[in-house]
Subunit: 349 residues, 5 copies
């Protein structure tokens, strides 16, 4: 359902905006404390409600936004504002952070590279950080969080011994680290294009340059508002973020700054590749035209001479000459050589 | 009447500035409270004055700005500043919010797509928010607010149970949601243009690109100042906006940010389409010229050879040769084949 | 006298900088209160000094800056700082506001369109606002203020019943409203150029585009600093501006924002016209060259065939053939038709 | 000695960085009060030290930075920070102001136009403002300050009766007024280039445009940081600047704003000249090519016709015709006239 | 190991990110006070731990980041936060300053020019400033700090008599001064390119321009964030920086501003060189094409005339004329001369 379909419905109507994925809703919980850790796959959405009020910390991950009734039930159980639920279901808006006193809501994008290495896919992740729990909503099931989950089962894992805000940091850190795959993919394609741009003259290269440019703009648009989100997390006096976790979040912030920096530089440089490509195309064209024109230029005076002696005047003394024909050949060859030498010296050939 | 016509008149003179529409003035009132709702079409302008002081909430909508005397009467009845009335009648100014202590004035634009899907129309909407009433002035009658009106007749409608500022939010939300139709229309035309730009070489495509660019600039110019308006609504300590409504207005603000973001990206990308178009035109031209030049280049040396043997020298041994003519043909065909192969290998053909 | 002539003179030396106009100095006073209004043309500069200390309000307008001694006398009588007098006489500086405690000084430009509708003229207006008087200095006599003067003679005129700061607002408003003539003139020429740009290929159009661009930049440069001036008037706690007048000045400010907005959009769009023009020129050139090249390309192979049968070989079987000549004609016509069809199908013709 | 030569030396080592001038060091003092004025040329650097502690005001001007020992002696006598002395000797840094409690240090550039009117020369001036003295360091002796010196000998000169900070203002004012010579020189060359750009097609014009562009960027770079310097002088609560002088410094500030404004406009406009030049070059080229191609296009079909009747077929009925030759001539002339008319009507000729 | 390899590892895992250098880890200490100075090369990493708690000041320099265990040991001994250690080992992030209460961490880049003078190399330097010690981490051994080390052995060296923050300043100053080598290298190559750009037309020049542009962007990206670092050092109330050292750090800050200024100007100007190059290429091409076309244009009418008299009409009166042939030659020479003169006068030749 596209955004415009929603225009006209009353606010508070929950509608999934964005591309629909066909997978089933899956709810998995990690309930942990310093002493224990437990992974639960919930069959019914109600199974996960108990983790809201346990003393142990819980990370409840909901995959797929297809079944709106599940989202509504979770919203009711966890007492979430309906504008928040709307934002969870609208996968077309910008990353943002909103503070709802009892919990904070963070919406951001996960980026990935398609299998052919030329496209960039984006998935929205919504995080709700409560006092002892984190709700995370994903559009599709992925394996990005797997290493994190595995590590949490290790009793020595830092996350096990810290507050729930540290888990938030770990989730953010995992997502932001994944962005580097995208910028490095862009860098790689950039270097390849730079090598071929001056030589290539096909529409493909042009399309690839335009696609790269568009992707840089769109990735930047995805990452750039996240800077404000993390900056708010870090600077604001949000109660849910402890001073200790703050330094870690600063680290995420630094990574974001570096990513944006890299994207800005890439955006500045992509114009240079376009310039190389256009210069390459024009140079090649010019060389061709110049060579062809030189060939014409050489033969036109020679053809003129041949034309002269093709005239049918009764009285043309040269024609009777015994060696006239050979002399003319000599003159023509001489002209030919002089012209070739002239063009060579001018470096036109 | 254009703006410059007004220059020279004393301030306070009410004059309709902008395109005139020929429709009649229509005044309709929705008077509501949690318990009741009532829709009234006023025959005389005076009929709507009573709703100013009722305890129930009222939304008074005036369509068409043609009859200035009606605007003046409303101004007198609702005690509106004459600069406000001037702004209602001047449909060429920027969106703005002004706080007149007893009421706040908001002026903004409604945007729509013309039927052929290629033009964008703009209509000014002026809103005055009092303590228990909203005045809205529209240039032409439209159906944008109809769903909102219908929903208000439902007793469970959120608007029915909230303050008048919530109705203001609903009106703003309806208008802003309509902007998405415009940006999606631009996106659609953008994608179509992108596909055809490289192939097309007609002036039409060029005009369409320029029109798109101009429309993006103008839509952005219409929406961008609205951000400040909504930001003022949200941040300022305006008495008329309650804390509860505030969060909803923040939602409208987020939509505006996203719209502006989208328009900025579209503006950045439209230059790329222009580049594609110009490269396409130039490539096509180059191919034509190259092919034509190659044809000339092949025949010019052959014509020279024919010219040679067209000369009338008395003594030209080849001419008497029995097979001279066929040998010359052979030489010419050989030259022809070598040149074709050369051009093929160079990828010029 | 150009600015550089002044470099080296001590500060405080009054020198007229800018284009000199040859008109005589004219001093006219409007002295008014709620009860009376009086227009006086002063023969001697001293005649206007009495209005400084009358209780009634006075607007003293000095036209032409040629006679520096008059400026000096007024400066002495009204106790004006000599830096202020220098600024009155230097018609090349930017609009600005300066607060001299007892009075405030405002310098701005009046803009107009030349009679041929293609040039923009600029005249500096300096305003000094005292407690009961306004001094205005104009370079040349114009009729911009006439409607304002006429209206003040009307006893119901708002200005008659308000403080002197309201008169300042009316003067500013009159000047700013006149700017709209300039931006609408630019818009008109813009639309005309847009229509002709793609078709025209003469230097005139190019010059006109460049002139428009230059004028937009210069008009913006003239209006833009005025925004700060009016913003200072409006926001600062200047004693001379009453709260009531403040709202009116905010209105002037809104007009300025709109003007600057319009100029910015025009500046953004003028690049598009240039693009259209250049594409038009290049398209036309390309069409010409393509047509000419096609003509050559068609005849070159035909000429080659004619050349073949112009050769003088003794043994050329076709030459003896009864229908050889007609067959050759047939072949040539066939080649001609095939090539024309080929070019037509390729849409090159 | 270039800047990089200094890298590696300990801080505090005094080294002259920048172009060396060969002139001798000259120290001249103006010692003045309301009652007296005295000009002294110091033979030894020690002669000027006495003026540090006199009650009268003193302006000590040191010309040439060649003799570093003199700079060191002055530094010791006036108790100047060695980082300040380094900055005096490094003529490659940006204008700046530094407050050393007992004195303030200002470093700025004096700009001039070379004799051929096409180059811009820059000289660094360093000013140290103490409680009763100003030290000024110049690279080369010039006559910019002469009018100022002469005027100070006049007992009525404003400077004689004011504090030392007023002298600082006069020096700054003199330097800033000189910048106008540079911007007017740029304007003059700009106008000349604009006239010739469209017609010229030689490399000279191109170089001149690039030079102008470079000079505008560099002059702006020189003047722009001075704005911050003067702004600091004006706004900050520097003790050494009295309230009275403050208004004068505001005047200098206004001049700087105007200069930067002018340079920004010039920078915006210089791109337009480049555009004119390139369009001019391309138009001229196109005209030439078009004319040449038209000539070819006219003769190629005619040559073809001649070629036809140069064929040697035994049976070609036209050849035997009595008027064949003249008919062919007629046909060729007709074709020629039709083509010329066609090209004329198409406006290609 | 590239950055993306790290994604997935838990935070706190120390991994060397960036190009690996093969050199061995070397730890050297300078322990000094006003009275003594001592240089120690540590064989074991543990040898340097004692200098942490001595009263004398110590500069501990670690070269090479290959052996992560050494970095870990130092981290443990000096009680460094593990995020700091990660930053030391990640040589791909931006310059930054972080305040860890007990010490401050500064990360920046050292820049150098490659031997062929065309490449720019970057090395990360990490500094940790404690109360009596500085730790510095370098990627490779260089000689940049040698002059500084030698000078510290001199008892009169300023550093010997000041606090440890002064040594930090000296290290920063040494690194920043080295940046000037890079900008001067860019300037030199810039001037060379500017001279050749208009004349050259080979791909080499194009590549060199693009490389220069890219290097300017990347050097700016390296130096620009350092401004914030030094600004924080200078403005913030960091306890470790004394007021006295503050003025020195301001000097470093001024140098950075100047460097960034220079790089900005260079970036603005590099576009001009590109323009020169492209104009040069296009001019050269145009000249060639024009000359070649002129040659064709001259011979085409002449060939036509020859063609005329090559026709085989039985009745062509000129052919029988005794002087026909010579007259035709005369006509052709006349046409030739007229055309040459025409082209000369038009300045096309």
């Amino acid at each position: 359902m596209s955004y415009t379909k929603k225009a006209g419905l009353p606010p508070g109507t929950l509608v999934h905006i964005g591309n629909k994925h066909t997978n089933e809703t899956k709810i998995s919980v990690i309930d942990y404390s310093a002493e224990h850790v437990q992974r639960i796959e919930c069959k019914n959405v109600e199974d996960c409600f108990v983790y809201k009020d346990t003393e142990s910390l819980s990370w409840i991950n909901i995959t797929s936004l297809n079944d709106i009734s599940i989202i509504e039930k979770i919203g009711a159980a966890f007492n979430l504002h309906h504008l928040l639920l709307e934002d969870v279901l609208n996968t077309q808006h910008r990353p943002k952070l909103e503070d709802f006193d009892d919990y904070i809501f963070i919406s951001l994008k996960m980026l990935g590279v398609t299998k052919d290495g030329k496209g960039i896919v984006s998935e929205q992740v919504s995080l709700v950080l409560g006092s002892t729990w984190i709700l995370s909503f994903q559009e599709i099931e992925g394996d990005v969080f797997n290493p994190l989950r595995v590590r949490m089962e290790n009793i020595k894992s830092a996350a096990r011994n810290k507050h729930i805000d540290y888990l938030l940091y770990r989730i953010l850190d995992t997502i932001v680290d994944n962005y580097f795959f995208v910028t490095e993919n862009i860098s790689d394609r950039f270097l390849k294009l730079e090598e071929t741009a001056l030589k290539a003259s096909d529409g493909n290269t042009l399309n690839e340059i335009q696609r790269l440019k568009r992707q840089i703009i769109q990735v930047r648009k995805t990452i750039s508002p996240l800077r404000d989100v993390v900056s708010t997390l870090q600077k604001d006096e949000l109660e849910v973020i402890s001073a200790e976790t703050n330094r870690y979040i600063k680290d995420v912030y630094d990574h974001l700054i570096q990513l944006i920096d890299t994207l800005d530089t890439q955006r500045d440089l992509v114009g240079g590749i376009m310039e190389l490509y256009l210069t390459g195309v024009s140079n090649k064209m010019n060389q061709v035209m110049q060579l062809l024109t030189i060939i014409s230029t050489i033969f036109i005076p020679l053809t003129f001479i041949a034309g002269i002696y093709g005239m049918n005047f009764t009285y043309m003394p040269e024609l009777q000459s015994r060696y006239g024909y050979f002399i003319v050949w000599g003159v023509m060859i001489a002209i030919f050589i002089v012209m070739i030498m002239f063009f060579k010296r001018k470096k036109w050939l």
